[in-house]
């Protein structure tokens, strides 16, 4: 169906979610698919001009040169073989290509692994929405009946801890914090001790935003990983990279570098309620094979949805 592993939602709630996602992605849809349709609808048959316009549309959606070349290669090949009698058929080819890119196997694969507490680290460059995402994740997971503890490991940005405290309260989860300027690994250590003592199911670690070019800060993340692993076997079970949907081709570099430093197991794409298409996620999935786990579609507590390739691509194509 629309959402993987048919969580714990009733059909009505599911439909509601789908509607919300469609609505939120409306802007995205208008730009990517709306324009693909406009291109395809305006021509009686596929010709070189139409193909070029189609290419422009994909590039304009931040798909990047490489993914665009791949998709257009498939469209052109099909066109040559006469498999695209109508513009509509081109749409099918594009859809399949995009879907193929997004369908990558899970890397974490810890759901139900039984370890307690599970540790999820949330990482990313500055301003992508890590803290907000942690808040929403906490709320989502608490809603599934799990006991959540949030670790405020962003000890750098002024008021980041206060911001997270508000989210912790909203989502009804516990918060372990230190003072600003503290050692993030130390907070993490404390949080994991607390989690063990309180029989918490899952620890969400909010880390400070950092540019992937700052090697000392990337090493700090690696240290946190090690601290987590020493404290809890197999931790961190998930390292989630938060990517802003407005990000362009640098998103790929970010994903590459964060993966190298921290072993990213999943992506969270935020700010999809804007006009940006989040097209960079295709590039990331294609090159690095990292699955997208969640998408952020607004500022409210419930505006974080589980991701599934079909529903994402289909909501683009509906």
């Amino acid at each position: 169906m629309f959402f993987k592993k048919s969580s714990r939602e009733t059909p009505e709630k599911k439909a509601g979610l789908f509607e919300r996602m469609k609505k939120a992605l409306g802007a995205t849809k208008e730009s990517l698919v709306g324009r693909i349709e406009a291109v395809l609808g305006s021509v009686p048959a596929i010709d070189e001009g139409a193909l070029e316009e189609l290419e422009g549309t994909l590039l304009g959606a931040d798909l990047g040169v490489r993914v665009t070349d791949r998709v257009m290669g498939a469209v052109r090949a099909a066109h040559k073989k006469g498999e695209i009698p109508s513009p509509d058929a081109a749409r099918g080819v594009i859809r399949n290509q995009l879907l193929e890119i997004l369908e990558v196997p899970e890397l974490g694969g810890v759901e139900g692994s039984g370890t307690r507490p599970e540790v999820w680290m949330v990482v990313g460059v500055n301003g992508t929405g890590k803290t907000t995402t942690v808040g929403k994740l906490a709320s989502r997971l608490t809603g599934e009946g799990r006991r959540i503890l949030i670790c405020a490991a962003d000890t750098f940005r002024p008021a980041a801890i206060e911001q997270l405290a508000v989210w912790a309260e909203r989502s009804g989860s516990e918060l372990i914090r230190s003072r600003i300027g503290g050692d993030p690994s130390a907070v993490l250590h404390d949080a994991l001790s607390a989690a063990e003592a309180r029989a918490t199911d899952l620890v969400l670690v909010d880390t400070a935003g950092r540019l992937h070019t700052k090697s000392n800060l990337m090493m700090e993340l690696d240290k946190m990983r090690r601290v987590a692993g020493r404290k809890v076997p197999g931790a961190p079970h998930e390292v989630l990279l938060v990517v802003d949907a407005t990000t362009g081709q640098n998103g790929l570099v970010q994903a590459r570098e964060f993966t190298r430093a921290t072993g990213v197991t999943g992506l969270i794409v935020t700010k999809l309620d804007g006009t940006a298409k989040g097209g960079i996620l295709f590039g990331i999935c294609e090159e690095l094979g990292i699955p997208v786990r969640f998408i952020g579609i607004g500022e409210a507590l419930e505006d974080l949805l589980e991701f599934s390739p079909e529903s994402f691509v289909d909501s683009l194509f509906r």
């Binding site: 802007a27 730009s31 422009g56 590039l59 304009g60 959606a61 931040d62 990047g64 040169v65 460059v125 500055n126 301003g127 992508t128 929405g129 750098f156 940005r157 002024p158 008021a159 980041a160 206060e162 911001q163 405290a165 508000v166 989210w167 600003i180 540019l211 992937h212 070019t213 700052k214 802003d244 407005t246 990000t247 362009g248 081709q249 640098n250 998103g251 570099v253 970010q254 700010k271 309620d273 804007g274 006009t275 940006a276 298409k277 097209g279 960079i280 500022e299």
Partner: protein, 444 residues
């Protein structure tokens, strides 16, 4: 990236000189490579297309065919065009005749408005202004607190009325406070918002009407992709932007979004954010960004300018090594030899601009003999040692000392210099270069 665009173009255009005319294929391949470089840098695809058309006309004329290195020539043309598009001249801030001048900071969520507000205030106070900051972000948890902490830490003027949760009235109060308190600039830090959120855009408009800002500054993330065109256009249409602050330029995003923003709004980029520190705000230089968009920093212009003195292929190989951080002691020695070929060292050092990590180098006294000693030391090392200085332990150093006739202390000093040089070169290739290149004079 140097190998990216420059080499690709070089390959395509290699056989160009000497041929009577440029073939259609050459033109198309070149155009495509330039286009891809621009797209990789997030320049909007329509802009990239137009741009390439224009460059095609200019670059593939006589000028290029006669050139010995057509690839480099094309790139130079491309870069000149980019600089022109980015605004050529550097643009400053405007102030209203009657203080306080109101600066309104606007932008999408997470673009860096709060940090940039504090940075701008800091920059202003260093330039003899007395800025006051007020946050009207009542939505993001702890946003007001974030600005307060920044202001307190850097002793910047700050206003708040905790009881008031209305952004417009908060802005008005800030303005009154600035006027009464003798501040000459009021910086209003607004909440991040989507350009398609009508309600929030309306709120922004109300703040604008209530405070009549002389600067409406769009804070934009250098990592933004194709959507930059759309968000910048909307913000401009609804708010009448007067300038742009491009943030997170300390990363490795190539910043093509700046070109998009400039072209849809017509407004200049006034500042760039270059770090997390409050002092990391710098005026914008179009030529620096142009090189960066093309993904070659200014290592390329260094090559171009040193071409006369230095073997070309060797220089390119060197740039590649610097980029990959594979600069060995052997390379260090080669460099010294080449520098000596260029003329007396003191003269060369005098050509370097007196800033950044090179500050003071021009005045340095250099003993030419020292260079000979350094060569002797490096010559006394084994090949493995030259390629990996980290294996140099006490015993090895002693052997080298005997071989070169220099004391161990001098070997240690050399190693220290080498490590420093390596560090400096790495940072040069990552973007300090453009600053250094300004005013750098190479002998022709």
């Amino acid at each position: 990236m140097l190998d990216g665009l420059a080499n690709k173009l070089q390959k395509i255009l290699r056989n160009l000189s000497g041929q009577g005319r440029v073939s259609e294929r050459h033109v198309e391949e070149t155009a495509r490579e330039i286009r891809n470089a621009l797209l990789d840098a997030d320049v909007h695809f329509k802009l990239a297309k137009e741009f390439v058309e224009r460059v095609k006309q200019r670059a593939l004329g006589q000028e290029v065919i006669q050139s010995l290195t057509p690839g480099q020539q094309v790139i130079r043309v491309v870069r000149d065009e980019l600089v022109e598009l980015l605004g050529g001249e550097q643009a400053g801030l405007s102030f209203s005749r009657q203080p306080p001048s109101v600066f309104l900071m606007v932008g999408l969520q997470g673009s860096g408005k709060t940090t940039s507000s504090a940075k701008l205030a800091r920059w202003l106070s260093k330039n003899n202004h007395t800025p006051l900051l007020v946050s009207v972000d009542v939505y993001r948890p702890a946003a007001v607190e974030q600005l307060r902490v920044l202001c307190a830490a850097h002793r910047l003027g700050w206003f708040d009325d905790p009881g008031d949760q209305d952004p417009v009235s908060r802005a008005e109060k800030g303005l009154r406070h600035a006027r009464n308190g003798g501040y000459d600039v009021l910086i209003i830090d607004t909440a991040g918002r989507l350009h398609i959120d009508d309600e929030m855009m309306l709120e922004l408009d109300r703040i604008r009407k209530a405070t009549s800002p002389v600067e409406v500054l769009l804070v934009a993330d250098a990592m933004t992709g194709q959507d930059a065109v759309r968000s910048a256009r909307e913000f401009h249409e609804k708010m009448g932007l007067t300038g742009v602050i491009l943030t997170k330029m300390d990363g490795d995003a190539r910043g093509g979004a700046a070109l998009s923003i400039k072209s849809v709004t017509g407004q200049s980029i006034k500042f760039v954010g270059t770090g997390e520190n409050v002092d990391a705000l710098e005026p914008f230089f179009p030529d620096r960004l142009a090189g960066r968009i093309l993904g070659m920093g200014d290592v390329l212009s260094l090559i171009e300018k040193a071409e006369d003195a230095v073997d070309r292929e060797q220089a390119e190989a060197m740039a590649e090594k610097i980029r990959k951080d594979e600069f060995t002691l052997e390379d260090f020695r080669d460099q010294l030899r080449q520098i000596r070929k260029m003329g007396p060292l003191e003269q060369i050092l005098g050509m370097l601009p007196n800033m950044g990590p090179l500050r003071g180098l021009g005045q340095m006294k250099v003993d030419e003999k020292e260079l000979i000693h350094i060569e002797a030391i490096i010559d006394s090392m084994t090949r493995t040692e030259r390629r990996n200085h980290q294996i140099l332990n006490g015993a090895r150093k002693k052997r080298i000392a005997r071989g070169s006739g220099r004391p161990v202390s001098e070997i240690n000093q050399l190693l220290k210099q080498y490590v420093e040089t390596r560090k400096m070169m790495r940072s040069l290739s990552r973007g300090i270069m453009p600053r250094l290149m300004k005013g750098m004079k190479f002998p022709r």
